[in-house]
Each structure stands twice: as structure tokens, then as C-alpha cells.
């Protein structure tokens, strides 16, 4: 009996969730007989089972509901009232089920109220009505018109006369598409079994242990070169990986299971708030780990309520704003890399920037002066600050003090990020990015002050090594160290400092783990980098949980326990101090990454001489400085300043005299050992925009004018000013030219590995071109590019490394170029296959020394390093 009852409760609960959703759909689309049939069937099954198990209350309720639905089938209009009563009945059934689960028997009580309601609805139509489409819509209202309401006829006419809004059409899905999917689902359920969550959790724990043990074994074998264990261990390793994947799969659930209640919530909310809301759910089948699913369920519900309550306007307001009277909320989910992206957007009024700013000021989160400098997008981020809720009225729906800060906390906890975009009057869009699973993650193992730490690879973008005079330089804005990385300035966090341990102090030559959390990109400075490893995340002791820098700990392959760095914690520690100084730089980064393509240029806006803004490409500037004007000396008729132990000439762009007191902002340009500075009045901003010079200039020192951020801006010709400081500025370049560099084409579908290997190859003296796929690589050859060698990944989608090697062999232009394969698996079979495909060498993916050695051998560059 016990098992039977439990089974019944679980199954019925699932059916009821479906009924909930289907009823809401039915109410919107009362002519869809298929939906109705589906609901009818489910309720009928519930009724039948209740009778069998001897549950009179449930049976009576289900029976009454079934009767009403039978009437629907016969043509009773599905009025809002009728559907509400049935929904209430379903809620009651759920309550009884909950009690049943707890106490093993039906609770006492009477349902005569609901049954009476249901019966009265069923009574209302004695005779079935003819069902023509027109009448059915007429009936859908099912009550006389209220004052202010418009008759359907009039609406229809208005509809015919209004131009069609394409989006609205797109969003209403034709119901006819659905049936095959449902049948599939029915078939699938027949082939599945129910397993308790505990069983799966236990299985997961055991697999985690297995992964650990495998890592330990691999570590041992790594230390012995010719071990007979190597081959069986490789096999064990593969089997473990597959097993891990399999078990992970069993933990996966479609995100739709967390969304199931949403249509009902929106329906009830719309009713309570007097709004009309269309909810579109996309990608409900997207799967993610159930542990993660549980954690995002509540935040999502909260955000959905927020959108419906605060985001969307009332129909009257919407009409006044020229929008369709029905508000629109879209929830979508999809996979991207190891993440799942969830987007929630509405077409409501958007965030109230002014009110958020006022509140941020009132709460002391920012100062008046800072507020002025912040962009709208930056201000919007304050909604995630603790205790921040701008709702003026506390409604029953939201504004109960649980704000977006709680949402963000929940998402932070699972290593996710949340971002908001809002356009006033057009709506808000939230983007949540969360990892698919929390249990086993790839991590970069780094060293600081002799201790090892793991940084989850999900947030690592790339690894760079800062060198003097290299592409990646460490610079200082005031006292803050920043990394210049491809025209972007990234704040740097020194891990040793954050953790309060002794690390190497030299920033130059250190490794920088470029990390991204939400829109924030920053570099974590570490002493050394080892390798990446699949780590099993173990929860931290409760005594250590308050340390914001760590998110957990793990046991490494060699048996040592290490702490896992929480990039969120690092980002927060950078927070305020750096944020203000880097606000401008960050703003340039915060721009849509899609726009940050080749034709976008980061430019520094400043004023000098006139009120018209001037701009210079940021990449040309080495540093921004502000010096005490009293330190400026006049020597030989020139302004100079002592700077880093040298005299640096100052060049003024106008006739205006150099300041004699206060702070003097300077733009410093360096080349090798020499620096000069342009004297400016004020540094305005860093912007990212198209550098499109529209009007040429006859004025020396000005290249021309361009429209930047809506203002005509003079683009400064730096080349004009440099010789003013040193006459031979441009002449010294030629003698430093190196002999021809060897070129390498690096092919890997993972940007992470591309970014990790590129600096390694560059450091070894190669000029590196990168391609994200075999096709891209072949296109480069096709375009006439020549390379001294090709380094390619084996496992790539579409066309793998073997096929690439074969294609390169077949092309006379590349037939002689040596190809080196990188692979995480190296077996005799694969090596043999590689030889046949024409690979020259095979190197394990993490074996950097091996790669360099192989490259030198293949390109005959023995003395390069």
C-alpha cells in the first residue's frame, strides 16, 4: 500500500502540474480541442486512481472537475471564472495530496464549497451549443460588457484595420506543431524508470571518488616513465570519464521542470494586477544539473513576478505609450559552452535610472561626484546591491524586501553571473549565466607563495605573461596596477595580497589569469601556473565558509587538499577602490562585446586648448598621469618633468601655458626607453567607437574630425607631436628589426587553449596566427598565407585534426608544411592513424616543453630559444 500510495502521489503531482499549464493555455485558446482532451484525460486518470485507492475526497473533487471539463468539450465557454474554479480545485487536490504524503491518509475536511461551484458552472449550460469559430470567441467573454470595455466586434474591426505587428505574430505558436512532440514524450515515459534522488546522489559521490582515485593514479604514473600501468590506466581513465558523463546525465533535468508553474503564476498575477500578459517560454527542454536547477528556481520565480509587477505597465499606460495593450514576457534558456544562459526579458517601462541613482546616493553606495560619471548601465547594476529595492509600494506580489540582491546572491553561490540591460520605455532584459554542473569542474591550478590554488576554468578567459616591452604590459593608473591587453585596461588583483600571504612581488614576468565575472574582466596575478585538472568540488568546512575568496576545496591527483578560488570574491574585493579609477576604462569594456570587433577603436577623449573634445587612439598611449604642476621644470626653453628617474619632455598642443600649480594631467607616450608627454587640460573619457575620420584637416597635429559619441571630435595626430620632443623619434626603429620570424598556425576550437598556447609560442619566438576551426585554417591557406608549421588540436567539431592534416597534404601550397597534433589522449592507435594522415608529430596537450621542442625540430629553429 505504501509504495502504491507514494507512486500515486508522485504521479498525480506531475499530472497536476501539467493540468495547471494546459488549463492556462486552454483559457487563452478555448477552441483547441486537443489541449482540452489532454486535460480531460489527465483528470480522468486521477479520478480513476483515487477511486481504486479509496480516496473519497479526491475522487469527488476530480469527478466534479471532470464534469465541468466534459461540459467544456460539449461547448461550455471556458470563462475566466470557470477556469479559476478548476484551478482552485487543483490547488485543493494538491493540498490533500501533500497531507496524504505526510500522514498516509486523506485529511478530514469538506470540499462541498468547491464542488458546489463546479456543479453550478456545469449546470449553467444544459444544451450543447453549436461551435462555430465566431461564436466561440464571442462566448469566450461569457459575461456582459463592463463599462469601458469594447465589444469583440469592435476589437475585430480594429484588428483588421491595424497594421500587423510582426513580433506579435511570431510569438503565437500554431498549436498544430505540438502533437508529435507530446506523443514522443508519452513513448519516452514508458521506457523510463523512477529512481530516488538519493540513489543518484550516492552514485555521483562514488563517481567523484573514482575520478579522484583516477587522478591520483595518473599522477603516480606520470612520475614513472615506462610503467606497464600506462595502457590499462588510460583505459580506466576513459571509462571513468564516460561514467562521469553518464552519471551527470542522470542528474540532468530540463529547465522546463522549474518553469512549469510559471504560466499559472503569470495568469494569476495578470488577474490580480489587472494587466494583460503574454508569457513565452523558449528552450524549456534545455537540461541542467538538478542541484543547479533547485538553486535557480526561486530566483527565477522572483524575477518573473518582478517583471509582471514592476516591469509591465497597465493596459491603459501601455496604450498611452503606443504599445500593444498586452504586456510580453519572454523566458528563454540555451546552452553555451559549459554554461546555460537564461534570459528573462519584458517589454515594460524599463528600469527607472533616476530613481535607482537617487536610492544609491541615499544609501551612500556612491558619492554625488561618482554618480555623475556613471553610465546608465552602471547605475542599473545597483539593483543587485544589498537591500536595494526601489518599489515604492510594497505589493502582495513583490517588494517584500527580497530584492535582486538575493537573486544575485543565489546565482553567485553557484558560480553564475547575472547582468541587466534596460532601455527606458522598451523593457528590461536579464541575462543569467550559470554553470551546467557544480560537482566536477575543470580548474586551472596556480601557485602563489608556495601554495597551490584552483581557479575554475569557466571564468578564466586567457592566461598571459606580462613582460617589459611586450604586447601585454603592466601599467599604473595612480596607484593601481592595470594590465594593458589589446587596447583594454584590466585591473589587476595580486592573489598573494588578497590572501595575505607572501608571494613574489614582481608583477613583471608574473602570470596573469584573465578572469571574467559578469561584465567585469580583471587579471589575477599569480606566481606560477601548473596545468588544468578536472576537480571534484567539495564543500568547505563551515568554519571557513565566511572567507569570500574561496568557493570550496578539492583533493588533487597527488592527494593534497587545495582551496578553490572564488572569482566572484576576487571581483568584489577589487570592487570600490579600483572601480572608480577604472570606471571609464570599464565603461569601454562594458560595451556590447559583439560590437567590439575589428573596426571599433578604443579612444581616449580629452580637452586641450579649446572646448571641443579631442581624441587619440588609446592603444598609442602608454600611461595617463597626473603630476603636481610645481614639479614641472623649465630647461633650455622646454618644459620637462622628472619621471621615473629620467627627464621627460612635455609637449603642449596649444599656445596655452603649462599650468604652474595644481594637478596637470598628461598623456604619456613611450617607445623603448624614451617617454614624452602631451599636456592636456582634462581627461574626459575612454570610449569605444568607429574611428571614421570624416573631415580632413589642414591643421598640423590634427588628422581630422570624427563624430564620437555624438560630438564632432578632433583626432589628434600623435606622430606630429612626438618629434617635437625628440627629433630622432622615428629614425631609430629600423636597426632593431629582427631576422625573419618563424610563423606558426595554431588551430584549436577552444579559445581557452588558443589563448593559453599563443603566449607560449610567442615567448618561444614564433609569430602565431590562430584559427578556431580546421575550416578557418584552410581558409587562411586558401587566402595565400604561408606558415612554417601548423599546430592543431585533434578533437574538433566538423573537421578534426586528422582530416585537416590530410587536407593540408592534398594542397600543393601546404603539402610540405610540418603538422604537429595536440591531443589530450595519446595512444599507439592514434599515433598510427596520425602517421597515415601525415602528421609529423604528436604532443600531449599540456606538454608545453614537448611542443616547443617538437616545433624547433620541425622548423629547424634549433637556436631560437
Amino acid at each position: 500500500m505504501d509504495d502504491l500510495l507514494r507512486e500515486f502521489v508522485t504521479e498525480t503531482n506531475e499530472s497536476l502540474d501539467v493540468v495547471d499549464v494546459e488549463l492556462v493555455r486552454f483559457e487563452q485558446d478555448p477552441n483547441n480541442a486537443r489541449i482540452l482532451d489532454n486535460i480531460f484525460r489527465l483528470v480522468h486518470t486521477i479520478k480513476g486512481t483515487c477511486g481504486f485507492l479509496g480516496l473519497p475526497r479526491l475522487e469527488a473533487l476530480a469527478h466534479a472537475a471532470e464534469t465541468v471539463m466534459g461540459k467544456f468539450r460539449d461547448g461550455l465557454p471556458a470563462t475566466h471564472e470557470a477556469v479559476s474554479v478548476i484551478l482552485a480545485t487543483i490547488d485543493r487536490i494538491k493540498e490533500i495530496l501533500a497531507a496524504l504524503e505526510r500522514d498516509q491518509c486523506e485529511p478530514d475536511g469538506s470540499d462541498s464549497d468547491l464542488i458546489a461551484d463546479l456543479e453550478s458552472i456545469a449546470e449553467r449550460t444544459k444544451k450543447p451549443m453549436p461551435r462555430t469559430a465566431e461564436e466561440a470567441t464571442e462566448q469566450a467573454l461569457g459575461r456582459p460588457l463592463r463599462p469601458g470595455e469594447v465589444s469583440l466586434d469592435e476589437l475585430e474591426r480594429a484588428f483588421r484595420e491595424t497594421p500587423v505587428d510582426p513580433r506579435a505574430v511570431k510569438t503565437t505558436k500554431p498549436a498544430a506543431e505540438d502533437p508529435p512532440k507530446d506523443e514522443e514524450a508519452v513513448r519516452a515515459s514508458a521506457q523510463s524508470i523512477r529512481v530516488t534522488v538519493d540513489t543518484i546522489e550516492h552514485l555521483m559521490t562514488m563517481v567523484s571518488e573514482l575520478v579522484l582515485t583516477r587522478n591520483q593514479l595518473l599522477e603516480i604514473v606520470r612520475r614513472h616513465d615506462d610503467s606497464e600501468f600506462k595502457t590499462p590506466l588510460q583505459r580506466l581513465s576513459n571509462v571513468t570519464a564516460e561514467l562521469q558523463e553518464g552519471v551527470m546525465k542522470t542528474r540532468m533535468q530540463p529547465i522546463g521542470s522549474a518553469w512549469q508553474k510559471f504560466p499559472r503564476i503569470i495568469r494569476d498575477l495578470a488577474h490580480d494586477l489587472g494587466k494583460e500578459i503574454e508569457l513565452e517560454l523558449q528552450g524549456a527542454e534545455t537540461e541542467l544539473d538538478r542541484q543547479v536547477l533547485d538553486l535557480i528556481k526561486d530566483p527565477l520565480t522572483h524575477m518573473l513576478r518582478n517583471s509582471a509587477d514592476h516591469g509591465l505597465e497597465t493596459p491603459a499606460e501601455r496604450r498611452a505609450a503606443g504599445k500593444p495593450h498586452q504586456g510580453y514576457i519572454r523566458l528563454s534558456a540555451y546552452h553555451e559552452g559549459g554554461h546555460i544562459i537564461i534570459q528573462l526579458s519584458d517589454d515594460g517601462r524599463g528600469l527607472n535610472t533616476a530613481r535607482i541613482k537617487a536610492k544609491a546616493l541615499a544609501q551612500g553606495l556612491i558619492s554625488e561626484a561618482e554618480a555623475e560619471k556613471l553610465s546608465d548601465a552602471q547605475i542599473h547594476k545597483f539593483i543587485f546591491a544589498a537591500g536595494f529595492s526601489t518599489a515604492q509600494a510594497v505589493t502582495a506580489v513583490s517588494g517584500r524586501g527580497v530584492g535582486m540582491d538575493v537573486v544575485r546572491n543565489n546565482i553567485d553561490q553557484i558560480g553564475g553571473t547575472i547582468d541587466v540591460k534596460s532601455v527606458s520605455g522598451q523593457g528590461v532584459s536579464f541575462t543569467i549565466k550559470i554553470p551546467l554542473t557544480l560537482a566536477i569542474v575543470a580548474a586551472l591550478i596556480v601557485e602563489v607563495g608556495g601554495s597551490r590554488f584552483a581557479i575554475p576554468q569557466l571564468s578564466v578567459i586567457e592566461l598571459v605573461r606580462a613582460r617589459k616591452g611586450g604586447d601585454h604590459r603592466i601599467e599604473r593608473i595612480k596607484d593601481t596596477a592595470v594590465l594593458r591587453l589589446r587596447d583594454k585596461l584590466l585591473p589587476l588583483a595580486r592573489l598573494s595580497k588578497l590572501l595575505g600571504i607572501e608571494g613574489k612581488d614582481a608583477l613583471e614576468g608574473g602570470y596573469i589569469v584573465v578572469t571574467q565575472v559578469g561584465n567585469q574582466t580583471f587579471g589575477i596575478v599569480v606566481d606560477g601556473v601548473f596545468h588544468t585538472e578536472e576537480i571534484v568540488v567539495k564543500p568547505m568546512s563551515s568554519k571557513l565558509r565566511d572567507i569570500p575568496m574561496f568557493s570550496g576545496n578539492t583533493i588533487l591527483g597527488d592527494g593534497a587538499v587545495i582551496m578553490i578560488i572564488d572569482p566572484n570574491g576576487v571581483a568584489r574585493s577589487l570592487g570600490t577602490a579600483v572601480a572608480t579609477q577604472l570606471a571609464a576604462a570599464e565603461r569601454a569594456q562594458a560595451q556590447d562585446p559583439e560590437k567590439a570587433d575589428a573596426d571599433m577603436t578604443s579612444m581616449l577623449l580629452f580637452r586641450a586648448g579649446s572646448s571641443q573634445p579631442k581624441a587619440v587612439p588609446l592603444s598609442l598611449i602608454t600611461r595617463l598621469e597626473e603630476i603636481d604642476a610645481r614639479k614641472i621644470e623649465l630647461s633650455n626653453g622646454r618644459h620637462m618633468v622628472q619621471y621615473r628617474g629620467q627627464l621627460m619632455p612635455l609637449v603642449s598642443m596649444t599656445d596655452k601655458p603649462v599650468r604652474s600649480e595644481g594637478a596637470q594631467p598628461l598623456l604619456v607616450f613611450s617607445d623603448g626607453q624614451r617617454s614624452m608627454a602631451l599636456v592636456v587640460d582634462e581627461i574626459v573619457d575612454i570610449v569605444e567607437d568607429h574611428l571614421d575620420i570624416q573631415v580632413g584637416s589642414g591643421n598640423p597635429g590634427v588628422l581630422g574630425s570624427a563624430v564620437i559619441k555624438g560630438h564632432a571630435t578632433e583626432i589628434v595626430d600623435v606622430a606630429h607631436f612626438l618629434p617635437l620632443a625628440f627629433e630622432d623619434w622615428f629614425r631609430r626603429k629600423d636597426d632593431t628589426r629582427r631576422e625573419r620570424q618563424r610563423t606558426v598556425l595554431l588551430v584549436d576550437d577552444s579559445p581557452f587553449f588558443r589563448n593559453m598556447l599563443m603566449p607560449v609560442l610567442q615567448a618561444a619566438g614564433y609569430a602565431v596566427a590562430a584559427a578556431g576551426s580546421a575550416k578557418e585554417a584552410l581558409a587562411l591557406i586558401e587566402a595565400g598565407k604561408t606558415f612554417d608549421s601548423v599546430v592543431t588540436d585533434i578533437e574538433m567539431p566538423e573537421m578534426d585534426g586528422f582530416e585537416l592534416a590530410e587536407a593540408l597534404r592534398a594542397d600543393p601550397r601546404s603539402a610540405t608544411v610540418p603538422v604537429i597534433a595536440l591531443s589530450s589522449q595519446v595512444s599507439t592507435d592514434l599515433i598510427e592513424r596520425g602517421r597515415r594522415a601525415g602528421l609529423h608529430d604528436y604532443v600531449a596537450k599540456f606538454d608545453r616543453q614537448g611542443l616547443i621542442a617538437s616545433l624547433m625540430e620541425q622548423t629547424g629553429m634549433g637556436n631560437a630559444a
Binding site: 590572501l499 568546512s541 563551515s542 571557513l544 583533493i555 593534497a560 587538499v561 582551496m563
Partner: protein, 152 residues
Amino acid sequence: MIDETTDRTVNEYVTAMVGGELFGLPIGRVQDVFVPDRVTRVPLAPPEIAGILNLRGRIVTLVDLCHRLGLEHRDPSVMAIGVELKGESYGLMIDQVGEVMSLDVADFERNPVNLDRNLAAVTSGIYRLESQLLLVLDIDRVLDIGRGAAAA
């Protein structure tokens, strides 16, 4: 307090020396005694936390008992007693482990009023043994690190 069922009048303790004092830990709470190896220091952790280590696949948090009790280190703590609290494993670092003692419940005394405040906060009472005092540790309170330490 003396019963006919003699086994109920006896409490068993694992004894340990920490900072020159003799402590007793209720035997029911002691999981194992081990020598900590390859301890990982945790930056930013409370000072009482000596680090974490891998003990047969479990991650154990090591508590510097000497520091926790406010005693001076006389010998380096080389051993640890494994205990559990709310599903988490801890290792209490001790200088030396002693014998298991069976002591009569009737001899158990409340903490003397002049007992050091730090010690009184984490001991439930004492036994007067022939040669010295045995302080009975309240493991739950010992592991109440953070608040407990702040109050002391």
C-alpha cells in the same frame, strides 16, 4: 547516583596532553587518532584553524587546540584526534595522546570557579585524578570557533 547497573556509572575518555594540561574527550565522540600529514594552510582562516588535509578521501579541518584553549605551545602538536560535528570532519591537534580512562560518574565535578576563562568556556567539568586534574572537553563548544573565540 550509584546504580546497580555499574556500566552506567562509568564515563570513558580518551585523554590527551595539550600545552602541558591533561584533557579528556568523551570516547563516543572520538572517531580516530591520526598523525596529520601534508596539511594545507588556509589563508584568511581564523587563527584557530591550522589548515585542512586529506584523510582517506575526506577533507578534515585541523583545529589548533592549543591556540583554541589559549594555552602556550610547549611541544609541537604532532597528533590529532578526529571528531565529527554536523557531518563535518575535524582534527583536534594535540601534543600527545594518552590512555583511555574509565572514570566514575560520581567523581565528576563542575568546573572550579577559578578555572581560566578560556578553559572554562570549552570544558564541561573536571576529574581530580591522583596525580593531576583531568579537564573534560565539551567538543561542541571547542568547535564553536568564531563566536566563541571572539567572546573569549
